[in-house]
Symmetry: C2
Subunit: 192 residues, 2 copies
Amino acid sequence: MASFKVSVGISNRHIHLSQEHIEALFGPGYTLTKTKDLSQPGQFACEETVTLIGPKGTMPGVRILGPARKASQVELSATDTFKIGVKPPVRDSGKLEETPGVDVEGPKGRVHLDQGVIVAARHIHMTPEEAAEYSLKDGDHVRVAVPGPRGGSLDHVLVRVNSNYELDLHLDTDEGNAFGLKNGQQLEVSTD
Amino acid sequence: MASFKVSVGISNRHIHLSQEHIEALFGPGYTLTKTKDLSQPGQFACEETVTLIGPKGTMPGVRILGPARKASQVELSATDTFKIGVKPPVRDSGKLEETPGVDVEGPKGRVHLDQGVIVAARHIHMTPEEAAEYSLKDGDHVRVAVPGPRGGSLDHVLVRVNSNYELDLHLDTDEGNAFGLKNGQQLEVSTD
């Protein structure tokens, strides 16, 4: 068993959009406006937000994360899903087969996503060098220990390995709030 | 080490009110209308709801749980607290010293609570007979294991013992959602 420390990043609800959908929502030829780089190199938060329209409610102010992707993807907390009435599975990013869709509204138009709504599975990003150091490979699962009054453990945390990644544990707001975590907090990972 | 099974009850945001506050919000002599008995004997959900008014937002439709209590108490998830801009601690029910207050609005009036807003600490209710069987006493802490894709463990779960209690694990919606739990699901408790 090896153990190492990782920094927590708590992801609020957000959307990744294809260029086609960006233009349908914001107008022909539109490009996103970066406001802040994210922990993963090349990824950024945008000035632009959209409104999600589900069977049971609407959710305004959902942040777009750039750059444009091949397929649009909406990442919600389970708490969010009850508010708008969608029932997505817990999924790894990019695995969108048989996920529900939702309507998305921007200032210049509205699109219906046939699929793409997920509750993101918790995961750790790392480089191949870090994975080698911890005897891990892409697709492995690890356990993360959380100290404090709302402490406990998060099992089955997916390891994602890519030379473009920065070492970082990504949780959603339900997980962050349930465990009383703050962005940047250091947690212990065990690989047993 | 002993272990036993317990049923999960997930508590949505709610408020307990003193008779004085019930009358200030709903009118002189008003009594609450029971709609549903809760798992703990004598406790019930009411038809009536109130609106919370915090520094950063309002939250309508907050369910009242009866019967009337000595002191009013508001139980929110951490997710809720960000929405209305209050910063309560994680607390055991009834321990309200140095907790923040909030404004509460009903159909006939509005009251300002000087204190009483908490994020409820997770806890297990049990009878003295059950406590004896599991070698536990009031105030002890136990660990609860959660299976499944969002599994893990909840440490420091408070044990509350009273002859009026029914065996039940109470979590809030953040905890229920983070672990992918459903009401009534059976979980394993360990007393090591």
